[in-house]
């Protein structure tokens, strides 16, 4: 398995390089270094000289991908792409175009994102699986039908409505928790209750239906019938046999998103004032900050690759038939 993991990690290198090239090209198709300078320098008194100075100071006065005027290897290295990309592979994210250290920002902001995303995922998973098992238990009954209708209704509601409605009802009318905000350490708890509850509730509709489908597929198989024939109750059959056998698709969905939990949630963090990474990429795009955009895209790509790798590894843990080689 070690060889498999090493191989997969090596595969990731060209993928990440490709993603970097693509990000670079897409970014500079839309924004020129002059545009970036103008955005950073503000709206007033921006002279061509000031733009030139800014580009020179931030290393955007070089050709994009190929330096015709340079000699030898400098043709490749004396370019914006090379200068801005190589450090990423060493996890040196550098400084944003507005002057902040990106690595320090990411380290600071990923924890609040995780503090929100992890309980939302864990509680959501338990609630969704619980409800899905109940619906399978009551399959064919009015309870299942009612549950399905409820799921469709929950799925049909916009996530924004859950947020605004939750803030209005629980924060504003009932005054049970702060409407928004964040604090360090255990102080964060009272600020996270509402967003976590909203995150869980808003995911119930789709989550329960998805897991119900997985369990229904399993529950109709012969080994479940055999288990029942042996005298297991329906609950025992579900928890001892159906649930473990449905773990592979569940893991596929869950493990792959684990690393991405660091990246945060844009809307939730924005509405609840949680200082996470959710809005970092959007802020970077809006402010045309290439240094931040490339760093976040690179980080996102790495985490996704890592998530896929973890998923593969986790298969071996839940299904003895799977062997990585």
């Amino acid at each position: 398995m070690i060889y498999y993991i090493i191989r997969r990690l090596l595969y990731a290198v060209p993928i990440l390089l490709g993603i970097n090239v693509l990000t670079f090209v897409l970014f500079f198709v839309v924004n020129s270094p002059n545009d970036m300078a103008r955005m950073q320098l503000g709206l007033k008194h921006v002279t061509p000289q000031a733009i030139q100075n800014w580009k020179q100071q931030h290393g955007y006065d070089k050709p994009l991908l190929w330096n015709e005027k340079a000699k030898g290897g400098d043709k490749l290295t004396e370019t914006i792409f090379y200068r801005k990309t190589v450090g990423l592979f060493l996890f040196r994210f550098g400084v944003s175009d507005s002057g902040r250290n990106i690595g320090a920002d990411i380290r600071q902001r990923m924890w609040p994102s995780l503090a929100l995303a992890l309980p939302t995922l864990a509680v959501g998973l338990l609630v969704n699986i619980g409800f899905a098992l109940l619906m399978v238990l009551f399959r064919g009954s009015y309870l299942e039908f009612g549950g399905l209708v409820l799921c469709v209704i929950l799925m049909s509601i916009s996530s924004l409505f859950y947020i605004i409605g939750g803030q209005f009802a629980i924060g504003k009318l009932m005054k049970l928790v702060p409407i928004s905000g964040y604090d360090e350490g255990f102080g964060a708890f009272k600020f996270l209750i509402l967003p976590v509850v909203i995150g869980v509730v808003s995911g119930i509709g789709s989550g329960v239906r998805w897991y119900r489908t997985l369990f229904l597929e399993e529950v109709g198989k012969d080994y479940v019938r055999t288990a029942r024939a042996k005298g297991l109750t329906e609950t025992q059959a579900l928890f001892r046999h159906v649930l473990p056998n449905a773990m592979i698709p569940i893991l596929t969905g869950v493990v792959v998103v684990l690393p991405l939990l660091f990246m945060g949630s844009l809307i939730m963090e924005s509405f609840f004032g949680i200082p996470g990474l959710g809005s970092y990429t959007i802020d970077a795009i809006n402010s045309q900050d290439f240094a931040m955009v490339r760093a976040m895209v690179f980080l996102g790509s790495i985490l996704y690759v890592l998530g896929l790798l973890l998923t593969d590894v986790s298969y071996t843990l839940v299904d003895p038939r799977v062997r990585l080689s």
């Binding site: 000289q49 109940l134 803030q167 702060p178 976590v196 229904l216 109709g220 928890f239 004032g273 200082p275």
Partner: protein
């Protein structure tokens, strides 16, 4: 395991989980008597803390670089330039801040001979600004000043191990301070010139401060530490507390620059401290951790969550103004006259990106002030016969409304280089005048700004010298003066003008079809559609077909720079309260296309330019006003702009705040504000009692709903195997 899981899921539902979480989180709050929804620590309840929100994180806190309102909200409380605006007096008036008196200005001719104060501006080669700062002013406590017993700076030679162990500025155990001297002001001017600082005003100041450009060239390849010893010919330290700035020619507006944070003092120790390699990797930079002498210092800097200002223990004596304008005493604005500033101990700025939570927290008393977003406008104010008032619910809470017209203008501009709408021919002028009448900005303000704006009659906003109210200030080319107020001319008058312009009924004689004009904008969102339709309708009144060319911001800027836009909207916020700042936007040599200046429409009129050159060097007075009137008349006739509107700010304050007066030029207003924390704490308690009965009802309903499910579950789990198989078969079918 199965029984454990099944027992866990038997009462499965979200509500029990919610109740559990609430209980865990809120029981401690309940025990201490704290409010459940209070986002702040209970110990701050009865302190003089001002709570404010900010929607956009600042990009820079270095006074040489920061230039936007959201940055000034912080640094204007921390840094102290030599001058400031009087808090209460209007029109805006400069008063000393760290200097003993206003700058002493001396004029010289080319031979270096001293000239009289009223000398002809043409003969003035240099102006010397002599400033004398007050002794005894000290910087905030900061590690950059910390010294050991031998007088060596403790943190100026940090090794990499020490730097690695740090994460914020507060990790430095010791701080120090020192007296503010003239050197610090001069050092900051050098920082403005230093190319690596990237100051946005560097290019402007090259044109005014003697030796600025030369210093920039000389220092370009030097390290920051060399700035201190490198001289700038036009800026000179004359003593511990005196310094002189030499300006090219006469530039009376320079005094206003001296009230901006750009000219605030910077200790060389700050650059020496922050310049150490490795600190920037921790975001410990001068751009993020200011070193000032103002009433507050930045104690916590987390622009993603919270910025915390604390009272500077070294703040020099400064008192609340003892005089204001007539009526201020009656409004209670002079109750604190002569009392030492500041009144607030701590200012907490919380990042609120969305308006809904911010508004709700203001209503709960967790913010002391708020603006009014468009989605909460109807909840906040109502229009009555007597004007704009607060709604009853806000009045009951003791909230007060303050309105003020901003010293800004938003206008619709014509590219004067364009063959159709530009140029100085009589026909193109009449076309522009017709459009100026047709585009009904009164309607615009009513529809799109909830009446938050004042239609502009010229280039100068209210509150700035040269803006005239009443009949004297009316744009006669667009308005008539009827019944004591301006009334927009009828659309018939506009149609006559467009016919005289050669487009009868808006028909282009060349194509025999409606004249097509192009509106260049960055309004690309679906939300902008009603606004764009409105613009189209305004032009349709004249039979003109308006084509919207919506592009992203970058393309729009490129179009403006290359002169490819035709009609556009633009805005300007006053740098300082002088008409020169606004008329410079129409001054020919400031053209955007040829000179990359701020004259976005590339308007050029030799007569206007000549008057501008005269006016800009004059002191405010009758003669200057006369010239301003002539200039207003020229631009009203030429109509390079459709003078749109001056925005009106609506601000809400809770009853426990006092000493609030709108001051659009002063950014250091926080030191004047007073809070009654006891009243605030009491009202917060009244307004934020938890409401629990909906939870109880919700719980009861859920239990009722679950009862049949539980019963069905019991029946099913005790069903014989044959029945279970039957169900299985049915399900398979």
């Amino acid at each position: 395991m199965s029984s454990l899981l099944s027992s866990k899921f038997r009462p499965a539902g979200v509500l029990p989980f919610v109740l559990f979480c609430l209980a865990v989180a809120l029981i401690p709050a309940g025990c201490t008597g704290a409010l459940w929804n209070d986002p702040y620590p209970p110990e701050d309840d009865k302190q003089a803390v001002l709570y404010q929100s900010f929607a956009e994180r600042p990009k820079h806190l270095d006074p040489a670089v920061a230039y936007s309102e959201n940055e000034y909200a912080f640094i204007a409380q921390i840094y102290e330039p030599p001058l400031q605006y009087h808090y209460l007096k209007r029109p805006y008036q400069l008063v000393p801040l760290t200097v003993t008196r206003l700058p002493e200005i001396t004029y010289y001719d080319r031979q270096g001979q001293k000239l009289a104060p009223d000398a002809n501006p043409q003969g003035i080669a240099y102006s010397d600004y002599l400033l004398e700062i007050k002794p005894g002013i000290r910087f905030q406590p900061h590690p950059a000043f910390a010294q050991d017993q031998g007088g060596q700076y403790r943190y100026h030679q940090l090794d990499s191990g020490k730097i690695d162990s740090l994460s914020t500025l507060s990790d430095f155990a010791e701080t120090g301070t020192r007296e503010l001297t003239a050197d610090d002001y001069v050092y900051q001017i050098k920082r403005l010139a230093y190319p690596k600082t990237q100051s946005p005003i560097a290019e402007i100041m090259k044109g005014y401060i003697v030796g600025f450009d030369e210093f920039a060239r000389q220092s370009a390849d030097k390290p920051r530490t060399a700035l201190r010893t490198l001289p700038m010919s036009g800026v000179e330290v004359l003593g511990r507390y005196r310094y002189k700035i030499r300006i090219k020619g006469k530039y009376p507006q320079f005094s206003y620059w001296l009230a901006m944070p750009f000219f605030a003092p910077m200790p060389w120790e700050a650059d020496a401290f922050y310049g150490q390699p490795g600190l920037d990797d921790k975001n410990v930079t001068l751009d993020w951790y200011p070193v000032g002498s103002g009433p507050y210092y930045l104690a916590e800097n987390n622009p993603n969550r919270r910025m915390l200002l604390l009272k500077n223990p070294n703040f020099h004596p400064e008192s609340y103004p003892v005089e204001g304008e007539p009526g201020d005493a009656e409004k209670g604005l002079l109750k604190d006259a002569g009392k030492p500033l500041p009144f607030i101990d701590k200012v907490v700025f919380t990042l609120e990106k969305e308006t809904i939570p911010s508004w709700s927290k203001f209503l709960q008393g967790y913010y002391d002030a708020s603006g009014i977003a468009s989605d909460s406008f109807d909840q906040a104010v109502q229009f009555t016969g007597g004007g704009i008032t607060l709604t009853d619910s806000l009045k009951e809470k003791g909230i007060r409304l303050q309105t003020s017209v901003e010293t800004s203008i938003f206008y619709m501009g014509f590219n004067m280089l364009d063959a159709t709408v530009g140029g100085d021919s009589e026909m193109s002028r009449k076309l522009r005048q017709a459009i100026a009448i047709a585009v009904d900005y009164e309607e615009f303000i009513a529809i799109f700004r909830n009446e938050r704006g004042v239609p502009a009659q010229g280039a100068i906003p209210p509150g700035i010298f040269g803006n005239e109210s009443g009949e004297a200030g009316v744009n006669r080319y667009v308005y008539d003066w009827n019944n004591g107020k301006p009334q927009r001319k009828s659309i018939e008058a506009a149609r006559r003008l467009i016919a005289e312009a050669g487009y009868p009924n808006g028909i282009d004689p060349k194509t025999k079809a409606p004249l097509i004009l192009y509106f260049d904008t960055v309004a690309t969102n679906a939300d902008d559609k009603p606004l764009m339709n409105w613009y189209r309708k305004q032009f349709q009144k004249l039979g003109i077909q308006l084509v919207i060319r919506a592009t992203d911001y970058n393309r729009f800027q490129q179009k403006m720079s290359s002169g490819n836009a035709q009609i556009f909207t633009w805005g300007w916020n006053a740098d300082y309260p002088d008409p020169e700042n606004f008329f410079s936007l129409l001054y020919g040599p400031n053209g955007k296309v040829k000179q990359s200046g701020e004259n976005a429409g590339n308007y050029r009129n030799p007569e206007f330019d000549h008057l501008f050159e005269q006016m800009r060097n004059m002191e405010n007075g009758r003669l200057r006003l006369e010239i301003i009137r002539q200039m207003q008349e020229i631009i009203r006739r030429d109509a390079p702009w459709v003078f749109g509107f001056h925005p009106k700010t609506f601000s809400l304050y809770h009853g426990w705040t006092s000493n609030l007066k709108p001051n659009l030029m002063a950014n250091n207003r926080t030191k004047y504000i007073r809070i009654d924390p006891v009243q605030r704490a009491e009202l917060r308690k009244q307004w934020n009692r938890p409401v629990l009965w909906p939870l109880a009802i919700g719980g009861a309903v859920l239990i009722l709903l679950l009862m049949p499910a539980v019963s069905a579950y019991r029946r099913r789990t005790h069903r014989p195997v044959s029945d279970a198989l039957k169900i299985q078969t049915e399900a398979t079918r």
